[in-house]
Symmetry: C2
Subunit: 339 residues, 2 copies
C-alpha cells in the first residue's frame, strides 16, 4: 500500500495503522532482508566460540544539515556505530535503528535516509535487524534524529585497549583529517564558504579486519569523531600513561581544510571525522599496517603521524618551524551537532 501522506503526521507515531504503514513501507521493506522484527532473534557461530566476547555500543546522531556533501544522517548513523565496534577489534554484526521524527518531515527525506542506511549496512557487512519510530510535534525536535546501537563479536585472542599502548608504538591514521567537520561547516551555509570538500564518512570495519591481520600486535584504535585527532590522542595518552608525539609536517591535511580553519580560527587537529581512525601498532608492524590500509579505498591516504614516547604524559606536536607545542584536550565545543 502506498502511503497517502507526503509528510509525517503525529498519527504516524500513535501505534495504529498509520504507524504500521509508515514502518512497513518506509523502513522494514527497505532493510535487507525485509521484515525487520520488533525484536530480532539472532544466531552467530562466531559468538558461540569459546573466548569470544560480545561488543555492544550506541550513538545518537543529530547532525545538521541532515543531508550534506558526501553523506546524510543515515550514513553517519551506520558508519559511526560500525566504526565504534571496529576500533575495539570487534567484527560488526547487527545494528538497531531508532528514529525520532518531527511532525511535518517529508516522507521522501525519510526514504532517502533509509536507502542510505540499507546501502551502507550492506557495504559494511552488517544487518539492520530491529528498529523504532517516534513522532514528536513541530518544534519538539529538529527534523530527524537517528540512534543506532551495534552488536559485534570480538574473536578470541583480540585485546585492544588504549591502556596497552607503550612507548615506541607507532600511530597511523587512514587518511586526510577534518573533511567531515569542514564539510558540515560549509554546508550550514551561514559562513558563505563554498567548498568542494566532501565528508569522509565511511565504515571502517573491513579496514580494521585487514589491519589486524597485517599487524596482529595492534594495541589500540580510536575513531576520530567529535574532538578529532587531538582528543583521541589525549584519551590514549591518559589511558596509556605515556606521551604521544606527532609531527605537523606528517599530518595529512587538505589545503582547503587548512585554509578554512585559518579563516575561521579553528584547529584542524580538533575537526571531526566520520571515516578516520588512529591505530597504534608496534614499530615492527607499522609498515605492514600501513600497506594493509593503503590497499583499501578508505585507507589509501594512510600515513604515520607520530608515536608513543617516554618522558612526559602529554600530546606534543613538533611544528613545521621546528618548535614544539602541547596539543591539549578541547575544553568546550568547536562545532555543535557535527554528528
Amino acid at each position: 500500500m502506498a502511503l497517502r501522506d507526503e509528510r509525517v503526521t503525529l498519527a504516524h507515531g500513535g501505534g495504529g495503522k498509520a504507524m504500521r504503514d509508515l514502518i512497513e513501507e518506509v523502513f522494514t521493506s527497505v532493510f535487507a532482508p525485509p521484515g525487520m522484527e520488533d525484536q530480532a532473534r539472532l544466531q552467530a557461530e562466531a559468538l558461540a566460540e569459546p573466548g569470544a566476547r560480545l561488543a555492544f555500543t550506541t550513538d545518537s546522531y543529530v547532525v545538521t544539515p541532515i543531508e550534506f556533501p558526501g553523506g546524510d544522517i543515515g550514513k553517519i548513523a551506520v558508519c559511526g556505530t560500525v566504526n565504534d565496534l571496529a576500533v575495539g577489534g570487534a567484527a560488526p554484526l547487527w545494528l538497531s535503528a531508532a528514529f525520532i521524527i518531527e511532525e511535518g518531515t517529508e516522507i521522501a527525506l525519510l526514504r532517502r535516509i533509509v536507502a542510505t542506511m540499507a546501502r551502507e549496512a550492506e557495504a559494511a557487512g552488517v544487518r539492520i535487524v530491529t528498529g523504532d519510530t517516534k513522532v514528536v510535534g513541530r518544534g519538539a525536535c529538529d527534523g530527524v534524529f537517528v540512534t543506532t546501537a551495534g552488536v559485534g563479536v570480538i574473536p578470541p585472542g583480540i585485546e585492544m585497549a588504549a591502556g596497552l599502548v607503550a612507548p615506541g608504538d607507532v600511530a597511523i591514521v587512514n587518511g586526510v583529517l577534518g573533511d567531515h567537520g569542514a564539510t558540515i561547516l560549509a554546508a550550514r551555509g551561514d559562513l558563505a564558504l563554498s567548498s568542494a570538500i566532501e565528508s569522509d564518512c565511511a565504515a571502517l570495519g573491513h579496514l580494521m579486519v585487514d589491519v589486524l591481520v597485517a599487524a596482529p600486535g595492534a594495541k589500540a584504535a580510536r575513531d576520530l569523531t567529535r574532538g578529532g585527532l587531538a582528543s583521541a590522542l589525549n584519551e590514549i595518552a591518559e589511558a596509556a600513561g605515556c606521551g604521544i608525539e606527532i609531527a605537523e609536517d606528517a599530518l595529512p591535511l587538505r589545503a582547503e581544510v587548512v585554509g578554512m580553519c585559518e579563516i575561521l580560527g579553528l584547529d584542524p587537529l580538533y575537526l571531526a571525522n566520520e571515516g578516520r581512525l588512529v591505530v597504534f601498532v608496534p614499530e615492527d608492524q607499522a609498515e605492514a599496517a600501513l600497506s594493509a590500509m593503503r590497499a583499501r579505498p578508505e585507507g589509501e591516504g594512510a600515513v604515520i603521524v607520530g608515536r608513543a614516547v617516554e618522558g612526559h604524559k602529554q600530546v606534543r606536536m613538533t611544528t613545521a618551524f621546528g618548535g614544539q607545542r602541547i596539543v591539549d584536550m578541547l575544553v568546550g565545543e568547536q562545532l555543535p551537532r557535527i554528528c
Copy 2:
C-alpha cells in the same frame, strides 16, 4: 570533580573536557558497576549454549512530561526495553542508553533520570553497559530524549511468536489497563484533571520468566504500549490467522480510568501501558500462568481477558450488555508522546 554548571550547555556535547566531565560525573559513575565503556565487551555463558539465540531490540523515548506520577523517562526507557526482550521469551542482559539533551536542561534533572535508570536496571537484573550523549541547541529538542537498546538471550527450546497462537488459547493480562496513558494525560495538566492514578510502568522480565516456568507451552506475549490492548490483540490475531474474543466484563479497569476516558471520549482498550502485557497460553496451563503472575507484585492483578477462536479473524468484544462489537486497530494516534 563537581560540575560547575547547573544547566547543560553546548560545550557539554563538543567532545572535549566539558563533555567528559558531564559523562563521568552524571552518567558513568552512577551506573553499576561504574566505568561504563564507550564500547562494552561482554561475556555470557547463556549465549554460548548450543541453540541459544541473541535477542536485540531498541526504542526511543520522548514522553512528555519527562517526570510524572509513578515514573520518569528513565524508568520507561529501562522498563520498555526490558519488556520488549521479555515478551519474546528472552532473558534481558544488557542495555545501552543514548541521551539527546536540549541546551539549558537542568543537570539535576539528568541526575534524577540516571538515578532512576540505575535503580530500575538493578531491579530488573540488567546492566546498562554503554551509552552516548548529544547536546542540541535550545528549541532543537524538547528537554531530554532517551534511546535504549537491549540485548538478551533466548534459551534453547523457547519459541514465542504471535503466529503460534491457536484457537482455544487463553489470553491473560497482568493487571489493570490504561494507568500509564491516563497518568500522562492528567500530568500534562491542560485538561485540569486531578487524579490519584500512577503510571503502571514496571519491568516484566522476572514475571515472564515465572510465567514460562509455570506455563512452558506459552505461545506469545506482547507488551501493551502505544495502542494498548486493542492493538496488541489485533497484531496477534493477524499473525495467527484466527479470531480473538474478549469480554468487557472481564477487563481489569479502574473506575477512575474509565471515568476519565468517558469524559474525554477515549477508549481504555487503546490506552498505553508501560508495565502490562498479554500472554497467550494453552487452556490447560492458564491457571498455572495466572498463579505465577499473581505471585509477583507486578502481576497481582492478573486476569483472563479472553481467548483465541475459530470462525472469524477479528478481535471482538462481548459488551457488558451482551452485544458484540469489533475492536479494530487504531487508525491514527490517540495521544502523542505517551512513551
